[in-house]
């Protein structure tokens, strides 16, 4: 095997392992936030290594550029998606793992509007 084939093989192997670990993490973690923590990031690394493996294997400029763009888009979109899922989970009242320590978000959301008020501009409570 030529050197770049070996590199591609290693990258593909790493990618597969991390994608698998992400999938196992979804089963094993106890609450939704930690499931996201393990799956989203493990799959980011997994997809990145797999795409880079194909770029190294084919060693063509046009393909490499496209592969790098794929990596960029994955890195831009995955955090946004997991950020939104995490927020939605918290707002809709997903249970935290019982052994979770401090919960700084507790009681911070406005119950009706779902607005997260900062401490410095806390509005005077009207009504209740």
């Amino acid at each position: 095997m030529s050197p770049h084939e070996i590199i591609a093989l290693v990258l593909a192997g790493v990618g597969c392992v991390f994608t698998l670990l992400g999938a196992i993490g979804v089963f094993r973690m106890p609450d939704v936030f930690m499931r996201m923590s393990t799956s989203a990031k493990a799959s980011t690394l997994g997809v990145t290594s797999l795409v880079l493996a194909s770029a190294v294997f084919h060693a063509e400029l046009s393909l490499t550029v496209r592969a790098l763009f794929v990596v960029c888009f994955v890195f831009m979109t995955v955090p946004v998606a997991s950020h939104l899922i995490g927020r939605a989970a918290y707002v809709s009242g997903a249970k935290l793992w019982p052994r979770t320590g401090e919960d700084a978000l507790k009681g911070k959301y406005d119950r009706n509007t779902r607005v997260l008020r900062g401490d410095s501009v806390r509005m005077p409570k009207s009504g209740s």
């Binding site: 991390f18 670990l21 196992i24 993490g25 094993r28 973690m29 106890p30 609450d31 936030f33 930690m34 996201m36 923590s37 393990t38 989203a40 990031k41 493990a42 980011t44 690394l45 400029l61 550029v65 890195f75 831009m76 995955v78 955090p79 946004v80 997991s82 950020h83 995490g86 927020r87 918290y90 935290l96 793992w97 052994r99 979770t100 320590g101 401090e102 919960d103 700084a104 978000l105 507790k106 911070k108 607005v115 997260l116 008020r117 900062g118 401490d119 410095s120 501009v121």
Partner: protein, 157 residues
């Protein structure tokens, strides 16, 4: 921002003058433009543009290292039968103010496994982060500010 636009313009000038319309030549033109601008940097006034490539490179390498190390840690957690996590949601006070900087910081934290940014308060002063390993909340807050926020500030200055 201005030197950047000049650099792109110079790259295109290079491509037209050499009349070789390929990606390699555009990239080469970009490098040539950078060197040219470096030569006349006094004429451009006060700018941090020429330090940017090194800062950006350091930033990318730091992120890669961080992503790898944290992934291994979480992988170990997934594979060991016991749960050793100490999760918590902590509030991180923000020094960065621009939308771009907050977005970058939140994305960095989400990309490094173990932490996941959940929300930003509407006055953009506090970032709420879910972290998997919180032995000491103050220490984690300090390290987020030191390791991540400082780098974001340096990059977007």
């Amino acid at each position: 921002m201005k030197p950047f636009l000049w650099n792109i313009a110079l790259a295109f000038v290079w491509v037209t003058v050499t009349s070789t319309f390929t990606l390699e030549n555009l990239a080469f033109g970009g490098v040539m433009g950078f060197v040219l601008l470096l030569g006349i940097r006094r004429a451009l006034g006060e700018t941090t543009y020429f330090e940017k490539p090194w800062v950006a490179l350091k930033f990318v390498l730091f992120m890669l290292k961080e992503i790898l190390v944290c992934n291994l840690r979480v992988a170990l957690e997934v594979l060991t039968p016991r749960h050793n996590m100490k999760p918590a949601i902590i509030a991180v006070p923000l020094d960065v103010t621009s939308d771009a900087a907050i977005t970058l910081l939140a994305n960095m934290l989400t990309l490094t496994p173990g932490t996941c940014s959940l929300d930003v308060s509407d006055d953009r002063k506090t970032l709420y982060v879910h972290a998997m390993y919180v032995d000491n909340a103050d220490e984690l807050r300090a390290s987020i500010k030191r390791e991540y926020e400082a780098r974001v500030l340096e990059l977007l200055r």
